[in-house]
Amino acid sequence: MYGFEPTDEQKMLIDTVQKYATKELREAAHDADEAGGFPPEILRHGWELGVLQASVPEAYGGFGERSAVTGVLAAEELAWGDLAGAMAIMMPGAFALAVLVAGTEEQRKQWLPGIVEADWKPFVPAITEPQFDFGLDDLRTTAERQNGGYVLNGEKCMVPFADTAEAFLVFARLDDRPQAFIVPRGADGLTVGDRDYYLGLGALPTHKLQLQKVKVPTADRLGGEDGFDPAPLAAAGNTAAAALAVGMSRASYQYALAYAKDREVFDVPIAQKQSIAFGLAEMAIEIEAIRLLVWEAAWRLDAGLDAAKEAYLALTGAADMAMMVTDRAVQYLGGHGYIREHPVERWMRNGRGVALFSGLAMV
C-alpha cells in the first residue's frame, strides 16, 4: 500500500525535533555562522533528542532500530533549524550508522556503545577530496595491503571537527573500489590541516586531512577482511543529504512567504503580486516533489531494496531545488535579503553546499 503520512510515533519525533530546531538551532544559527561553530550545549541538546540512539539496537547501546524514513523526517526538521547545526549533530551518527550497517559484529560492539551512550563526541567520516570531479567511485586516497594490514595515503577535505575528532572513518580506494577504515586521532602519519573556510556552512568547522603511510590493522577495516559493499552506504548518504536540503529549503520558503505577506509595495503586500505569489507557489511545489523523492529513497533503504538510483536522483533534484528556493528567498526579500541580519543569504550560501554533501551524512 502507498502511504504519505508519518506514523504517530514519527509525528511525535518530528514535533520534538521541531521544538528544538525552533528554540535552539534557529536562535543560535546566525551567531554560530559568524563565530565558526555552535556552542557545545546546543550540540549536546540536539544529540539528546535521541535520533541516532533510537536507530541503534539495544545490543549496541541504543534503544531502537534503524529506520531511514524516520531518519529523513528528523533530518528535515533539524536542517530547517540550521543546516550546519543539523550536520554537526548528525556527524557521529554518520560514523555510527556506517559501522552499524557495514561493520562486523566485533566492530559494532567495539565502537557503537562508546558513541551512542556518551555525550556528543566527534566521530567523523572523512570522505570528500579536493578534486573538482570528486566521486566515491574515483577516490584518490588509496589503501594498500602491507604486513597483514593496510596503509593509507592521500588527502581529504571538508572533514568535520577534524581537530577534535575521536576517530575518523576514512574512505580510500582498495582493489579499485571504495572501502572505509577506522583511524583513531593522533595516528602516525595523520596530519590535521588548518581549518577550511567555505562559502557557507560557517558553523560546521571542517579541515583538510593528510594521510601519509597511515597504518590500519585489518580489524579496523570496515566490514573486516572482506570489506563491505559501499553502494547502500552511499545511497543512505545521498538520501540524508537530500533530506537536509529539503529542510533548509523549507525554512527559506517559509521565511520568504512570511516576509512577502508583510512587506508592502504600492499599498499592498508583495505577496498579492502574481510574480511573487506564483514564485512562492513554485517553491512550495518543488519542495514537496523533492521531499517525496527523498521519502521514496528512504523507504527503499528500509525495505532492503536497491536505492542507489533513487537516492542519486533525490540528491540531484535536491541540489537544484536548494539553489532555486534559497535564491528566490533572497530575491523576494530584495535588498534586505542580501543583508546578514536576515537568514536567507546564509541559507543561499549553505544551499550551494548541498551538491557536495554526498556521503557526509547518513540516515
Partner: protein
C-alpha cells in the same frame, strides 16, 4: 505510514493497461493523429467490453459507484485505492496515446462531475450506462467563449425552471469529447449554467444534458495542435429542455448557496490529478523512447557519477528522470488523499502545475536532443510534444493552478490575490 509499496491490485492494473496500450493504442496512434475526426471505433468497442468485464471504472472509483441492488453480495472491503487505480490507468493509457485515452467509453470528466455533485439516484441513472450494451462517452462543458477558469463567476449560459423542466440557453466551447458524447454514442454532457445570473458564481449549477435532447447541438469541430484522436467541440443550447431531476445535487439546490461553485471545484479536485497522471504517461513514454534511442546508439546513462563527470546528454536525461519521478509521486499523493478522503485541493493543483511543466519540458527536450529523428514524423516524439501541451491548458492552465496553490499557501482569497 510512509510507504511506496505498490499494492498488488495496482500492479495488475499496470499490467493490464500496458497490454491494452501496447496492442490497441500505439499501433494506431499515428493514424488517428493524421486522420483527425475519424472515430477510433475499434479502440472504443474494445475498451467498452473490457470495462464491462472489469465492472466499470473510468473516473468513478468503485467506492463511489452506485450501490448494488438488495440481495446482492456486498463488495469485498479492501483497501481504498480507487482513485489511485484511475490515476494509474490514465497514466498507462496516455503512455499508449493521450488522444485515444480521451475516447475511452468508461466515464471520464462528465462522470467525475456526477460523482462529485450527484445524488445516489443520479449516480445510478447516469453512471450505470457505462457498463450497458453500447459504448457511451461523456463530456463536461464549462468554458465559454469569453471565459475559461473565470467561468463560474462569468457564466452566461442560463438555466430557467419551467415546471418539471429546466430550459437551457447558451454556448459552450472546447468541450472535450462532446461530439462522441452527443452524436456518436448515447452519452451525456454535464453543462455548467447559472440559475441566477445576478448571483455570480453562487448561481452556477451542473446539469446533465443527454444525447438526442432537442435544442442541444454540436456546432463546431476544432482542429488542434495535438490529441487529435479526441474531438473538441462547441455546443449550442437553444431552448434546450431537460428534466428537472437532471440538475446535479440535492433537491434544495435552488437555494442561493455556493454549492454549485463548490461542486465544480470538487470536480476539479478529482479531475486535475487525472490530467496530471495522463501527462505523466506521455512524459514516461517520451523518456523511455529517448533512452531506448540513446541505447541503440551505444550511449548508456551513468547514474551515480558526480555531475562534473557527466556528459550533457546524461545530465539532461537524469534531470528528466528527477522531474518525471518526483512529479509522479506528487500525483500519486494527490490521488491517495482522495482515497483517504482527505481534502486535496492544494495537492491536486500542485500536481497539475508540475505535471504540465514536466511533460512540456520533457517532450521538448526529447525532440531537441534527438535532432532530426526527434523532429521527424517517423517517430512519435514530435507528436508527443504536440499532445503534451494540452496538459498545461485544460482543467485549468498552469497559471490558474499556480494561482490556486498561491492562494492556499498564502491563505488568501480572491480579494487578496487574483
Amino acid at each position: 505510514m510512509i510507504s511506496f509499496e505498490i499494492p498488488e491490485k495496482l500492479q495488475q492494473t499496470y499490467t493490464l493497461m500496458t497490454m491494452i496500450a501496447e496492442n490497441m493504442m500505439r499501433p494506431v496512434a499515428r493514424y488517428f493523429d493524421d486522420h483527425e475526426h475519424e472515430i477510433p471505433w475499434e479502440y472504443i468497442n474494445f475498451m467498452h467490453d473490457a470495462n464491462k468485464q472489469m465492472g466499470g471504472g473510468g473516473m468513478v472509483p468503485a467506492s463511489e459507484r452506485p450501490k448494488k441492488k438488495e440481495g446482492e453480495e456486498p463488495r469485498k472491503e479492501g483497501p481504498r485505492i480507487g482513485y489511485q487505480r484511475l490515476a494509474v490507468s490514465a497514466e498507462v493509457l496516455s503512455w499508449g496515446d493521450t488522444g485515444l485515452y480521451l475516447c475511452s467509453p468508461v466515464g471520464l470528466l462528465g462522470a467525475a462531475a456526477v460523482t462529485a455533485t450527484g445524488t445516489p439516484e443520479q449516480k445510478e441513472r447516469f453512471l450505470t450506462r457505462f457498463t450497458g450494451d453500447k459504448p457511451v462517452i461523456d463530456a463536461m462543458a464549462l468554458t465559454e467563449s469569453h471565459a475559461g477558469s473565470a467561468m463560474p463567476a462569468m457564466v452566461r449560459t442560463t438555466a430557467v425552471r419551467d415546471g418539471d423542466s429546466w430550459v437551457l440557453n447558451g454556448e459552450k466551447i472546447f468541450v472535450t469529447g462532446g461530439h462522441k458524447a452527443l452524436i456518436d454514442t448515447p452519452g451525456f454532457v454535464v453543462i455548467w449554467a447559472t440559475i441566477d445570473p445576478s448571483a455570480g458564481r453562487a448561481g452556477v449549477r451542473p446539469f446533465v444534458v443527454e444525447a438526442g435532447t432537442p435544442g442541444c447541438s454540436v456546432t463546431k469541430l476544432e482542429h488542434k495542435l495535438g490529441i487529435r484522436a479526441s474531438d473538441t467541440v462547441s455546443i449550442v443550447l437553444q431552448d434546450c429542455r431537460i428534466p428537472f431531476d437532471n440538475i446535479l445535487g440535492s433537491p434544495e439546490v435552488e437555494r442561493k448557496t455556493t454549492e454549485g461553485f463548490k461542486g465544480a471545484m470538487a470536480t476539479f479536485d478529482a479531475s486535475r490529478p487525472m490530467v496530471a497522471a495522463s501527462a505523466m504517461g506521455v512524459a514516461r513514454a517520451t523518456l523511455e523512447a529517448v533512452k531506448e534511442y540513446l541505447e541503440s546508439k551505444g550511449i548508456q546513462i551513468r547514474y551515480g557519477l558526480p555531475r562534473a563527470r557527466l556528459t550533457n546528454i546524461e545530465r539532461e536525461v537524469i534531470d528528466m528522470e528527477v522531474l518525471l519521478r518526483s512529479t509522479w509521486l506528487l500525483v500519486l499523493k494527490s490521488v491517495w488523499m482522495m482515497d483517504e478522503r482527505k481534502p486535496n485541493n492544494l495537492e491536486a493543483s500542485m500536481s497539475k502545475v508540475r505535471a504540465g511543466d514536466a511533460v512540456v519540458r520533457i517532450t521538448q527536450k526529447a525532440v531537441e536532443m534527438l535532432g532530426p529523428a526527434g523532429y521527424s514524423r517517423d517517430l512519435l516524439l514530435e507528436k508527443w510534444l504536440r499532445d503534451a501541451k494540452i496538459n498545461d491548458l485544460y482543467e485549468g492552465t498552469g497559471q490558474i493552478n499556480r494561482l490556486i496553490v498561491a492562494r492556499r499557501i498564502l491563505d488568501y482569497g480572491r480579494q487578496e490575490l487574483s
